[in-house]
């Protein structure tokens, strides 16, 4: 039994490793994605860390020189309409007079609130005006001999508990997403080739005519594909280590450092996922009638791991989803990188679930290979 699986496994490995195009197509993902992500992160960090000067249109600026000066200290200033964002701050005609009389002086923020790209700029203007309001009110109270703290019955203090590492949540999410998806993308072509391809090249019927069971055949195939998935994982871990080392993290005060411990941990939690991924792709490929059909179906099925990973990346996983394969493993990787406690119960349950799925998928494939319809593509 075991020696037959070994023989089959060796042949699958040899045959697949000589299929240079398929192997490389899988590795391109592992090689390219971290580099792309590195560029993306660099751009994102630049946007996040630089508080660019905000240009808006200020009408009737001469009526409120103090306000305009205050806004300038907050890096909000007037510019021609062509250069400025589509936010217009109109200072009313009677502003100066109303100010002097201590009555509310009107300013109007004129902007499209449905424009998402404008929203943060609008909030920034509103915040600056609010601060100006407080500033003037405080001065007025003091002039009347009243303690301005009267106007602040509750002293709200915010203590930010975010450590530099935890602040990089989204970056960690994206980095781990690309790593975990390798297990699915690196071996996709080989999985299709060894199943739908084997049938299309007429060698499947010859194999099934030999004294072996279809389960042995499926396990050998899944084993070989798992090896290539894990190879993809090793490659992406190393490339990520170097690529993320080039990102100028210091701008945001945290860092993604993939050390040897993390790599070992990822290989460990990744192995069951690789087995599950291989068995799933083989099953789907056998279910398809042809090579091309298999490519379409496998691509469609890969939306499931993508979704589970996305949900974890953007931290919108519900309580149940956190126990599912892929989601739990990725969450554990994120926590490991942050240096926080690992979600061990979730990780354990999802690993067992992953292995159960691997067993179900492999067994289903072996049943399929007993069906005349599937074997001969009838």
């Amino acid at each position: 039994m075991n020696s037959l699986i070994r023989t089959l496994f060796r042949k699958e490995l040899l045959d697949a490793s000589r299929d240079k195009r398929s192997v490389m197509a899988g590795l391109y993902y592992a090689l390219g994605t971290p580099i792309l992500m590195c560029l993306l992160f660099a751009v994102l960090l630049k946007q996040l860390s630089s508080t660019d000067e905000l240009f808006i249109t200020i009408e009737n600026a001469s009526a409120a020189p103090a306000l305009v000066q205050f806004l300038k200290t907050k890096e909000i200033s007037h510019a021609e309409e062509s250069k400025a964002k589509a936010i217009r701050l109109s200072i009313s005609e009677g502003f100066e007079q109303q100010m002097q009389q201590g009555r509310p002086a009107t300013v109007i923020i004129d902007a499209d609130h449905s424009d998402d790209r404008l929203l943060s700029s609008i909030r920034r203007v509103e915040r600056a005006l609010g601060q100006y309001n407080n500033e003037v009110a405080r001065l007025r109270l003091m002039a009347r001999g009243i303690d301005p703290t009267l106007m602040r019955p509750v002293d709200v203090q915010t203590h930010d508990q975010a450590t530099p590492d935890s602040r990089g949540g989204m970056f960690l999410g994206i980095a781990t997403l690309t790593i975990i998806l390798t297990l699915f993308y690196a071996s996709m072509n080989l999985a299709i080739d060894t199943s739908a391809g084997e049938r299309e090249r007429n060698s499947l019927t010859l194999l099934l005519s030999q004294p072996l069971s279809s389960l042995q055949l499926v396990l050998a195939k899944v084993g070989a594909i798992t090896c290539f998935s894990m190879l993809g994982l090793v490659v992406i871990l190393f490339v990520s280590k170097f690529a993320y080392g080039l990102v100028p993290w210091e701008q945001l005060g945290f860092n993604i450092r993939l050390n040897a411990d993390f790599m070992l941990f990822t290989l460990l939690v990744g192995l069951p996922l690789a087995m599950m991924s291989a068995s799933l792709q083989v099953l789907v490929s056998f279910l398809a009638k042809s090579f091309k059909e298999a490519q379409t179906y496998v691509t469609m099925v890969l939306f499931i791991p993508l979704t589970l990973s996305m949900v974890t990346t953007y931290n919108i996983a519900t309580e149940y989803v956190q126990w599912l394969p892929i989601a739990a493993q990725q969450q554990a990787m994120i926590e490991f990188l942050k240096g926080s406690a690992l979600p061990l119960p979730q990780l354990l349950v999802s690993t067992l679930l992953t292995l159960a799925l691997f067993a179900v998928f492999s067994f289903s494939s072996s049943l399929l290979l007993k069906s005349e319809k599937v074997v001969f593509g009838l």
């Binding site: 040899l14 000589r18 090249r201 060698s203 005519s209």
Partner: protein, 244 residues
């Protein structure tokens, strides 16, 4: 020895096998002759246990393929149509792989592979990958795969298709050698000359049934014809399939 008894098999709406019975003995070359669509391939696939018969049974050396599948298969060598080669493997790797699948230990399989490659005069191509092989080289590789584990029974599906004279000779000589060694050789064909020249026994089938069984000479005598081709047409009652 291969024995087929009262096989019935329906594929889709077609009754591919309709009560087929015949026997192929050891030390004999038996030709399975029939027009296109007669059920030859279905019959062979049932023999390997790839298709399950609706009723009836197929036995390999007395082992029922449906119930004792694995034991029965070790007694079978299969030369399929199409060949089912792995383009990225060399003949040596390919043949050794099948030897090991049939239960040979690695060293034993390696030895047997070397012997069969020499027997088929394939040493010049033994370590080249199969992609780009000629039809003759492919045939030899498939043949080596079928006989490497020395099965009692060798089944060949349309072995002479697309072969040149030299390759046909290699094949013919090998089949005769196997016969003299006491193997049971069963091959399907619709090339009359080939069957007439090689076969001791001819099983003529049409529409999923046995039409006649006997030596070429017996078939000619029974139909009163001078050639196997004429006898064949007389037996199946139409000239359908002869052109192929």
């Amino acid at each position: 020895m291969i024995k087929v008894t009262d096989l019935y098999k329906k594929i889709g709406s077609v009754q591919a096998l309709n009560g087929l019975s015949f026997q192929a003995d050891n030390g004999t070359i038996t030709g399975l002759l029939g027009p296109n669509g007669a059920g030859k391939t279905t019959c062979l696939r049932t023999l390997f246990g790839l298709l399950k018969a609706d009723s009836g049974k197929a036995e390999i050396d007395g082992l029922d393929i449906a119930t004792q599948t694995r034991q029965a298969r070790t007694q079978l060598g299969l030369f399929p149509d199409p060949f089912g080669l792995y383009e990225r493997l060399t003949p040596r790797e390919y043949v050794q792989f099948f030897a090991e699948l049939n239960g040979m230990a690695k060293a034993e399989a390696s030895q047997a592979t070397a012997e069969v490659l020499t027997l088929l005069q394939m040493n010049d191509i033994a370590d080249r990958r199969c992609e780009g092989f000629s039809q003759g080289q492919r045939m030899k590789t498939a043949l080596a795969q079928a006989i490497v584990h020395q099965p009692t029974n060798i089944v060949l599906d349309e072995p002479t298709r697309g072969l040149d004279v030299m390759s046909t000779r290699v094949l013919r000589d090998l089949l005769l050698t196997l016969k003299n060694q006491g193997h049971c050789v069963l091959f399907s064909s619709h090339v009359m000359q080939e069957v007439a020249a090689l076969c001791d026994q001819v099983v003529v089938m049409a529409r999923g049934q046995l039409v006649a069984q006997g030596s070429p000479a017996e078939l000619c005598a029974a139909t009163g014809k001078s050639s196997l081709e004429e006898a064949f047409i007389a037996l199946i009652g139409t000239d359908e399939g002869i052109a192929a």
